[in-house]
């Protein structure tokens, strides 16, 4: 069994990875197996910072041969090091899963010896879980850049999700900060996974800061208000605050009776913003004052003047980073 200390070290190395989703796979249990994956995903706990704990997010090892400047686990950093064996990880996953602590495993690793060796260990762990322990829960594996294509492909076949980190914006900055990695080593396996349909990147899920429609909608005040009881779906969807779910509910409900303002409230359509852009059965309940509406729309945005600090100490370096030269 893995000991407390190593668990803490290996968790600390992985906890800043944003991805903890357990959704998107509906793997079934097999005879004499344990576990399945729920398509919607399940959160098992919530930490004090309000984030959900769904997967056992852990590194295989934080004992890295690379010296990437931006990484806590870089070789030159003075840090307690630990490595877990595939068997220890499998045992931990099964024990946690059985007790309903977790939904599955999120496995990443620092580079132990060589990328190939590391990927082999990750593959071995996942393979053992699937074949020996007959584990059918959720598994997310981080791909190791520069590892053998065949290993990555095989891991992809038995994992539910796989991802690579895009670490830096340009080749020059990569050379400067992570001299052991090359642009190709990161992009190639991603392209390959895309072709193989296993491709997933944490960046895919990054939502745009402001949904594109909102500003045009303001300029188009003449277009609004729209009548909830007659407007076609496309028009309903242009109303700020009405999304796919609410629009579907409205279209469903108005087949049966006329929708009033109270009905919308009861149907749990969020009216905070939408109220200013709609009429219910001819009645308008919002305000016509453009400034109030504008304030309401931007209130979600963070308006504090925060400064983005630079990773590069000197002014010159910061400037060249800004222009993408680094």
């Amino acid at each position: 069994m893995i000991d407390e200390n190593r668990l803490i070290i290996l968790t600390n190395g992985a906890k800043y990875d944003v991805s903890c989703s357990s959704s998107g796979s509906s793997r079934q249990n097999t005879p004499r197996g344990i576990g399945n994956a729920s398509y919607a995903g399940i959160c098992h706990s919530f930490t004090q910072d309000g984030r959900c704990v769904s997967l056992l997010k852990i590194l295989m090892s934080n004992d890295c041969v690379y010296d990437c400047k931006y990484c806590v686990n870089r070789r030159s950093n003075d840090l307690p090091r630990a490595t877990a064996s595939p068997d220890e990880l499998c045992e931990l996953v099964i024990a946690f899963y059985k007790r309903n602590y977790i939904e599955g495993l999120f496995l990443s690793s620092a580079i132990i010896k060589t990328p190939d060796h590391t990927m082999e260990l990750l593959y071995e762990t996942v393979k053992k879980l699937r074949l020996v322990y007959r584990f059918n829960g959720y598994i997310h594996v981080k791909g190791i850049p520069n590892a053998d294509k065949l290993l990555i492909e095989r891991t992809g076949l038995i994992a539910d999700r796989m991802s690579f980190n895009i670490e830096l914006p340009s080749e020059t900055s990569l050379n400067l900060l992570a001299p052991q990695k090359s642009k190709d080593s990161i992009l190639k396996p991603m392209k390959m996974l895309a072709l193989d349909k296993y491709y997933d990147s944490p960046f895919k899920r990054r939502k745009d800061f402001l949904p594109a429609g909102q500003t045009t909608q303001l300029r188009n005040l003449g277009f609004f208000p729209v009548e909830i009881n007659t407007a076609p779906l496309e028009t309903l969807l242009r109303v700020p605050g009405i999304g796919m779910k609410s629009a579907a509910k409205i279209i469903m409900a108005r087949k049966h009776s006329i929708i009033t303002y109270e009905d919308l409230k009861r149907m749990k359509v969020v009216l905070k913003r939408a109220a200013h852009f709609i009429t219910c059965n001819g009645k308008y309940i919002g305000t016509r004052d453009e400034k109030t509406i504008k304030d309401l729309l931007v209130s979600a945005e963070n308006t504090i003047n925060a400064e983005q600090l630079s990773m590069f100490g000197t002014n010159n370096a910061a400037l060249s980073a800004l222009y993408g030269e680094l």
Partner: protein, 245 residues
């Protein structure tokens, strides 16, 4: 002012509907027998469950309201809301009088009340799929205690028998003294007022401790946001979760 008192299960509800239609009474309230508190100036009718009428009403409901309706009514009756039986009754009654599937008529107060109650039960069921905590006994049986707001034991059991397959497990609802026992093949439901003393397996304590350590380590203290934590994981559930207990 007639109030129906029913056994709060699907058969009880069916009998209330049968009585309402055959005797042409429309009750102003329907309560489950276990939540009813006598009110002034009302005429209470205790509806006895008579199995011979149940199938007839069910058939009519499925005919007009679709295949799902009986299951939905059953789930609604599991709610802790004292008005759950009334919401279920009104929805079923509306289906039968209008002779159509009324589920899309979301502006209707009966329909929206019914689906609100239903959603609350489903939501808690989904939460418990994550928040339930098993501990392993020396005999290899997994034992979980919890005390949900709604009587969801029957709803969550299939999820766990799917996952655990042939591992025997017990889910114990402390609040209602309700237990579900699975021997790895079949599940039996029952009631017990015994408090379980479990004899933990050799590794139980060690793994529980590892989980606690893990839970405390993934937290990022600089981003403390207990309000969000409380919203997602209400404090009343934490009593039975070993990482927060």
């Amino acid at each position: 002012m007639t109030i129906f008192i029913i056994d709060q299960n699907i058969d009880g509800l069916m009998c209330a509907l049968y009585k309402s239609f055959t005797e042409k009474i429309y009750p102003c309230k329907v309560y489950g027998a276990h939540v009813y508190q006598p009110e002034l100036c009302t005429n209470t009718v205790r509806v006895k469950t008579d199995r011979s009428n149940v199938e007839r009403v069910k058939k009519a409901l499925i005919n007009y309201g679709g295949d799902n309706i009986v299951y939905q009514l059953r789930v609604c009756l599991l709610s802790c809301d004292a008005n759950a039986a009334y919401h279920a009754f009104c929805y079923a009654h509306k289906t039968l009088t209008e002779r159509r599937n009324v589920s899309e008529d979301l502006c209707d107060i009966f329909v929206s009340n019914f689906f609100d109650t239903l959603r609350k039960v489903y939501n808690e069921k989904h939460r418990m799929n994550g928040f339930l905590r098993f501990s392993e006994t020396a005999g290899g049986v997994l034992y979980a205690q919890y005390s949900p707001d709604n009587d969801i034991t029957e709803l969550i059991v299939p999820h766990f028998s799917d996952r655990l397959h042939d591992i025997p497990f017990v889910i114990h609802d402390i609040k209602r003294n309700r237990v579900a026992v699975s021997d790895g093949r079949t599940v039996k439901y029952g009631y017990t007022d015994l408090s379980a003393k479990i004899n933990p397996s050799r590794n139980e304590e060690a793994f529980a401790l590892l989980w606690k350590r893990y839970f405390n380590t993934v937290n990022i203290p600089e981003r403390k946001n207990t309000r969000q934590q409380d919203n997602y994981m209400p404090r009343r559930y934490r009593k039975y979760m070993n990482e927060t207990y």
